[in-house]
Symmetry: C2
Subunit: 356 residues, 2 copies
DNA sequence: TTGAAAGCGGTACCAT
DNA sequence: ATGGTACCGCTTTCAA
């Protein structure tokens, strides 16, 4: 009985107003749900809108209100379970609070991140959540902060930046597991991270541009020093940026005559690869090698042996960041906060006393 | 020397034009990179823009051009490795082609999905990629398609819908693994999926609203029938929507006196949970139970034994969907395509002959 | 309660 | 090559 509604150049408030026999302003009031309208008129406009299949144009609305109802998120790699879980936390909060999320992958590349932020700002997002690849050049972060739109740093962020930040207590976690390993007699403890340095080798924590990782390494080195272990810097391996890189690094390391007796993996993707290399090399965990990984990824509990991990409240990290951002969006102008969430070591069976 | 640039109510083309001593139209031309301008004027405008720290407003641009440079993506759950990997494929293509991605999680809920699409359409995304939770009521999909903005269905999509779709050859994969299990002597083969039916029990594939899963179950049942196995419908378990649900279902199933000798898990999250339950119950894989899972998740290769999986080209699925969408955006108006990507069975060690 | 009209920040057409 | 100006679709004074 009714034809296919003519869906050409989109129905506007003016059209609805016309059909309802009222002014544009009135129609806009009922359609936009603001101002006061008589019931009679409201019904007429609503009916007209339905008849015409009116679809509001958020873009136009954003133009005048200055708010887009959108938050921009920049992460290193959405494929990484860490980020996808944090993202879940962010999107959940966003939906609950009526926001929508624009996601951009930086690939952990500073230049891409920079342009991502520009793009997001140009699209007039109301706020930003960024997990900065490098903290060294943070100009674009400052710029974003100055743009007037709130910015929250996720999992990373330098102490020097006066910006809202949500992180886990990585340093504390690293100290804990390092102490535990040392207590078990380990002296040759390796730390493997994706973060790279210009020379592809590690000298000092200052070389590490990723806050969360830097803090972990500092904790690791401090505890080692405290225990009288020196030159542990040599045991820090950088550049495990892809599974292939990690595979190469782990293989060389574990084939070495002076191979470590324990390995700390900076994330679950690296931990998984180290686990695989052990298998290939016929190394038994935990007899030949103890393994601890950051991030309680799903696979860590089903391997043989299951692996001991640092459980980070990843979902909570995303959730907290989003909540903090929404507060700012709602006018909270208190000075920059630094939210630090607790981690927890989940002891499983991949850690044992050092081989004698 | 220069003060903090006054960042209040954003700099516009008019401001730049004024400062550069040209008209708004001219300034817009150089800022927008269209039309023709003399080098002299271009430099002046560029300089003025930099001095004022001009930031273009994409919203305003979108208003007049009608294109937002944005594509909307609706998936069931970004936390699921399947979707996060597909998302990676999508975002990579988007970035390469100059688009930006808005992500909404439907939580596999039809109502949420519906409103997500409305929201996205209201935000005037240029196109949509949706992984529909249910195919039964696809009105919102039709509506989206009719809105004039291209829509591509990801991993799911019914044959009856005349909409671009990118899927894997799930049916073929299911047939292959079912044949293999039967050849190994299995007769009691269970299939576990997250898809649910109103009565929380399975009767016929027609009850399954998720295309990819329905095709798999059809393949499974057909091959069983072909082999003379009847009433295999009883071995299909639905409702494994969360790890907790899966745990319950798998426990009941595997504790039963007439427990299956083989299990097919419809995704890696379910497969992982079944694996865990086997451990808890002291069931040895593959001696007591053979296990096959869809999705070659990272953990499947490091368990003991490693598990046999159906490898789906997940990244490729996202990539193909995004490419198809971009083509449409570039004016390709050929009739709706159905891209089917090949799967591959990765034989590992979780499948053996049925216990005698 | 309702209507008229001025923007929001660009784009694009039409003159000059 | 440049300037003037009418939109895009909605919100928001300000009057009536």
């Amino acid at each position: 009985m009714d034809q296919n509604p003519p869906r050409s150049p989109s129905v506007t408030v003016a059209d609805v107003a016309c059909k309802a026999g009222v002014s544009k302003a009135t129609a806009a009031r009922v359609l936009g749900g603001y101002g006061t309208v008589s019931d009679h008129v409201r019904d007429a406009v609503t009916a007209a809108a339905r008849a015409l299949d009116y679809q509001p144009n958020e873009l136009a609305r954003s133009m005048t209100t200055g708010r887009s109802g959108t938050i921009g998120v920049v992460v290193g790699d959405i494929e990484n379970p860490f980020f996808s879980l944090a993202m879940r936390g962010i999107t959940d909060v966003a939906r609950q609070t009526g926001f929508t999320v624009i996601l951009i992958n930086s690939g952990e590349d500073a230049a891409t991140e920079k342009s991502a932020i520009r793009t997001l700002l140009a699209k007039r997002v109301d706020g930003l959540i960024v997990s900065p690849a490098k903290e060294s050049d943070a100009d674009h972060l400052r710029e974003a902060a100055r743009s007037g739109r709130p910015l929250v740093l996720l999992d990373r962020g330098s102490e020097t930046l006066d910006i809202d930040t949500v992180i886990a207590d990585d340093r504390h976690a690293a100290e804990g597991i390092t102490r535990r390993l040392i207590a078990l007699g380990h002296r040759r403890i390796a730390y493997i991270t994706a973060c790279d340095t210009p020379e592809h080798r590690f000298r000092t924590p200052a070389d590490i541009n990723t806050g969360s990782v830097r803090r972990r390494i500092e904790g690791f080195l401090d505890v080692c020093l405290e225990a009288g272990l020196e030159d542990m810097e040599d045991w820090v391996h950088v550049g495990a940026v892809t599974p292939e890189h990690t595979h190469r690094i782990a293989t060389v390391m574990l084939k070495s005559s002076r191979r470590p007796t324990a390995v700390i993996a900076s994330d679950s993707v690296i931990g998984l690869e180290v686990f695989k290399v052990c298998r290939e090399l016929g190394l038994t965990i935990p007899n030949d090698l103890s393994l601890v990984s950051f991030h309680d990824a799903d696979w860590t509990s089903v391997t043989t042996p299951p692996v001991t991990v640092v459980r980070q409240p990843v979902y909570g990290l995303g959730e907290a960041a989003a909540k903090l951002l929404v507060e700012r969006l709602n006018g909270n102008t208190a000075k920059a906060t630094r939210v630090v969430l607790k981690t927890e070591v989940v002891e499983r069976a991949s850690v044992a006393a050092a081989p004698t």
